[in-house]
Each structure stands twice: as structure tokens, then as C-alpha cells.
């Protein structure tokens, strides 16, 4: 066997190994956190519905965390649908310090048309969640809906202006307060509408 004949099969095997390794690397997840599903997630049950401040009806439905490769013991995945738009995301169980892998806990936020939805799994010791638009006196108390083995899912919805680059004031700020059973504020979280990034 010539040297050339020995090298060519090695090159062939090496090429396949590189291709296989690349394919494996780009399809692997780092952990059990939600990843993009490979097919459209199918709702497995409605958990909340109503009429949003815009007058649009909305539904919040449970999605199987397995479709996102997330651990069902620690993640609640949901879909929110309105006539204008929809969104999907997952809410994690917070640790005793109200953190997620060292990051401060905050609700998932969806802006659908002119309606703002916030969802969060109720952490231990937290009895309710309320939301206040910065600069306004009125507060909105989140609905508490059954999240099965994961406890309670808070769902809050508030209206507002259409967020547009023509008027920066349409992007508003919010104070989210997590309250204990005695009404005491255990944690305050500030959030903002999107639309201000480049």
C-alpha cells in the first residue's frame, strides 16, 4: 500500500468525524432550561382566559415543558394568544433566595399588540403579585391560577399605548411587587416595555 493510499482513507474518516462532531455540537443543549422546540408546541390545557384591556380576548394555555426540553418538575411553559399576536415562554421555579441560577427572579413578559402580560410561578412565601405602572397610582393584582404540581401561576395583564419609536413615552416602566400573606412586600422588581433597543 502506498503512502497516498494510506492517507486518503484517513482523510475520509477525519472529514466524517468533523462533520458528525459539528452536527452534534450545534444540536446539544447545555442543561434542562427551555430550548427551541423542533415542532410547533401543542397546548395541553387552558389555564386562564378573559378580555384584555384593549378589548381583545386572550387565553393562557399550558405547554408541555418536554416540548422545550425543559424539566417539567421545575418549569411551567405557557402560550398566550390574543387576536393581535401570541407568545410562548417558560417560567422557572425560583430558589429560596428568589433567584434563577444566580439571576434575580422576574416575571416573563409578553407585549401582544397593546396588551402587556406578565406571568410568574409563585415562589415560596409569596401569596400574590401586583403590578403598578410607573407614574400611575392604580395597581393591578395578578390572577392566581392552578399550575398543578408547581403550585400557582400569577397572570397579570395591563393595557397601554402602542409602543412606537415615534414616541418614546409609549414605552413604559413597571413596578412588580411580590407580596407575602400579610400583605408585606417581599420583593420589588422593575421592568420596562421593549422597543428602545437599536
Amino acid at each position: 500500500m502506498t503512502r497516498r493510499n494510506r492517507i486518503l482513507p484517513l482523510l475520509l474518516a477525519g472529514t466524517f468525524a468533523v462533520a458528525g462532531g459539528t452536527a452534534w455540537a450545534v444540536t446539544q443543549a447545555d442543561d434542562s432550561a427551555p430550548d427551541r422546540p423542533t415542532t410547533p408546541p401543542v397546548p395541553t390545557g387552558k389555564v386562564a382566559a378573559g378580555t384584555a384591556p384593549s378589548g381583545d380576548t386572550y387565553t393562557v394555555s399550558r405547554l408541555d415543558p418536554a416540548q422545550f426540553k425543559a424539566d417539567p418538575a421545575t418549569w411551567f411553559c405557557r402560550e398566550i394568544v390574543t387576536q393581535a399576536a401570541s407568545s410562548s415562554a417558560c417560567d422557572p421555579v425560583a430558589d429560596k433566595n428568589l433567584e434563577i441560577d444566580g439571576q434575580p427572579l422576574k416575571p416573563s413578559f409578553s407585549l401582544l399588540g397593546t396588551n402587556r402580560f406578565l406571568t410568574m410561578l409563585a415562589p415560596d412565601r409569596v401569596a400574590s403579585m401586583e403590578l403598578q405602572v410607573t407614574g400611575e397610582d392604580k395597581t393591578v393584582t395578578a390572577k392566581s391560577v392552578d399550575a398543578g404540581a408547581l403550585g400557582t401561576l400569577f397572570v397579570a395583564v395591563v393595557g397601554g399605548p402602542q409602543v412606537t419609536s415615534r414616541d418614546p413615552s409609549t414605552s413604559r416602566h413597571y413596578a412588580v411587587r411580590l407580596l407575602g400573606s400579610d400583605g408585606q412586600t417581599l420583593r420589588e422588581i422593575t421592568m420596562s416595555d421593549p422597543g428602545q433597543g437599536e
Binding site: L8, V26, A33, R36, S86, S87, C90, D101, Q162, D193
Partner: protein
């Protein structure tokens, strides 16, 4: 003669392997999606009720906070936010093509990485994701 044939056979196999791996890599990484610094993001057309809808998504590794926002641009460069979503890990939002099917734009990413991509309906010329 036989040895020359064998050499050409091996070279042909090598070329075929290179071609297949290149196509596979292109399909995995490009398509309607991108991965930058380990963060997947982009747009896609999940079939929803037999209607293709514009869908913006961000898929970071682990539990990083991520955002996905879909903007509806006007000819003067201003925009309305049609939908947005913010969460730990994967997040997405979907709207409709409305009156500007060629002027939708994804903006999203993580705290350390912002990405922007035009997305276009199948009725528009050019790429569906650019």
C-alpha cells in the same frame, strides 16, 4: 490501470463526503436561523392553522434571560412593536404580516448580545430571513 481507478474512487468519495458535510453544516447553521456567540436567534414560519405567520425567537444556552421582539417598520424608518417576549431561556412571539409583509424585523437576544434581522413574507422578493 486498476490502481488508478481505485485512487479516483477514493478521491471521489472524499469529495462526496466534503460536499455532504458542507451542505449539512449549512442547513444546520444557516437556513432561517443564526447562531452567534452560542445564542440562536432568528425567524421561522411555523405552520399555524394553515397560515404561515412571522415568528421571532431567541434561544440562548441555559437559563440566560432573553428577548424576542418583532417590529413593523414604516417607509420613514420608524416602527411599531407588534409583539415582544422576555423570559429565562427560550422565548418567542408571533404576529401577522399585516399591511407591510416585507418590512418586519426581529430584534432580540440576551443582555450581552443584541441581534437584528429582517424577515419577509413568502410573497416578498428576496430572502425570507436576512
Amino acid at each position: 490501470m486498476a490502481r488508478g481507478l481505485k485512487d479516483r474512487y477514493i478521491v471521489g468519495l472524499l469529495a462526496l463526503a466534503f460536499f455532504v458535510s458542507s451542505v449539512a453544516a449549512a442547513l444546520a447553521v444557516v437556513g432561517n436561523t443564526h447562531t452567534t456567540n452560542g445564542v440562536g436567534h432568528g425567524v421561522s414560519n411555523f405552520l399555524a392553522g394553515h397560515t404561515y405567520v412571522p415568528l421571532a425567537w431567541t434561544d440562548p444556552p441555559g437559563t440566560q434571560g432573553s428577548t424576542a421582539e418583532m417590529r413593523h417598520y414604516f417607509s420613514d424608518g420608524t416602527f411599531n412593536v407588534q409583539c415582544s417576549s422576555e423570559a429565562f431561556g427560550y422565548t418567542e412571539c408571533a404576529g401577522d404580516w399585516g399591511t407591510a409583509p416585507c418590512q418586519k424585523r426581529y430584534v432580540g437576544g440576551t443582555a450581552t448580545l443584541l441581534s437584528r434581522h429582517w424577515m419577509r413574507s413568502v410573497d416578498c422578493s428576496g430572502q425570507t430571513h436576512a
